[in-house]
Subunit: 191 residues, 2 copies
């Protein structure tokens, strides 16, 4: 079996808590399913919100479902700078003292004091993938991404092993553009 895996661009998106969803879209609102994502149970919706920083607003940012315990906004560094916030590079869910922003929905708005992050590049995989690839959960690896004009090796890539993952590397739009991502597969390398 090949040692390569798909590399997916994780464009800017929002995960909402149930409480914030109620404020932004109205009490009892249900997210409108659009399509499944590669990770089991995760889905894109037709619902969008505006992300407001001190300098500018990014309109129409996609909400991913299902709801989560804490609202989380994932931007690229380009996005964060454009709206005037300094957000840390973090693993999803690690939100303590991350950046604040305002979120505006069709029925209301919320000011979050933390929750905006730049997602740390990572690879989702099952335990059997990890064994085959010779890596462990939480390990930091380097991944080679070939490209006709912008090949690169990204280090500081987090391995995330769970029993319900689909094997896929996730990078943000800055990283995807830096390698001209267009369907290439990645491979863990020792450098």
């Amino acid at each position: 079996m090949s040692n390569t895996f798909i590399v997916e661009t994780s464009a800017r998106h929002v995960h909402l808590s149930k409480a914030d969803l109620d404020i932004l879209f109205g009490e009892g609102y249900e997210l409108k399913f659009r399509k499944e994502l590669s990770q089991p149970g995760q889905f894109a919706t037709f619902d969008r919100v505006d992300i407001v920083g001190p300098k500018r607003t990014i309109p129409g940012v996609t909400i991913l479902g299902p709801t989560r315990p804490q609202t989380q906004v994932e931007l690229s560094l380009t996005d964060a700078r454009s709206i005037g916030i300094t957000a840390p590079i973090r693993e999803s869910g690690d939100l303590k003292d991350s950046a604040p922003c305002k979120i505006v929905g069709p029925c209301g708005e919320v000011e979050i004091s933390e929750g905006v992050i730049i997602a740390m590049r990572h690879i989702h995989m099952l335990p059997e993938d990890a064994e085959r690839l010779g890596v462990k959960d939480k390990q930091i690896v380097s991944v080679k991404i070939p490209s006709p004009e912008r090949s690169a090796i990204f280090s500081d890539v987090l391995v995330r092993v769970t029993p319900t993952s689909a094997l896929a590397m996730h990078i943000d739009t800055d990283e995807a553009n830096a390698v001209g991502l267009c369907g290439q597969e990645g491979e863990i390398v020792n450098i």
Copy 2:
């Protein structure tokens, strides 16, 4: 002497031909010098134009001086996609069949049929730097850029040797953000 070199972010910018400068800013207009850039003779100006694509406009893009034989617009892939154009990754000056756009200035506008590129990552250097680093003009190399959280090795980096260069690597904002660029130095590596 160290084998490392500064890595500079080349943010979106425009080089104008004299003819286009006349149309955009008025006959006989002189670019307003703001500051010298690392490459001798090149300078940033106080002058700005709007770059218009089919989907959106990027307002206030900096013009670099002096004027050039052909107008050239250098965007990141993030920028190009945001305004709805598909621009090729090219060496500066290699504009044949590159992307079109509209440029709007305070006194007029021009539609360029080609001239928009995504700059190929590159290292400017003097002949003595090239000799010391063991590379030649036009050679394609890989450069390691350390980073606390986003280290990477960029391949497909073009070496540009001229007798008037200052040793510096130039990457665009997508690439800079993909390595969390903040003053780190680069180093040519064999991989």
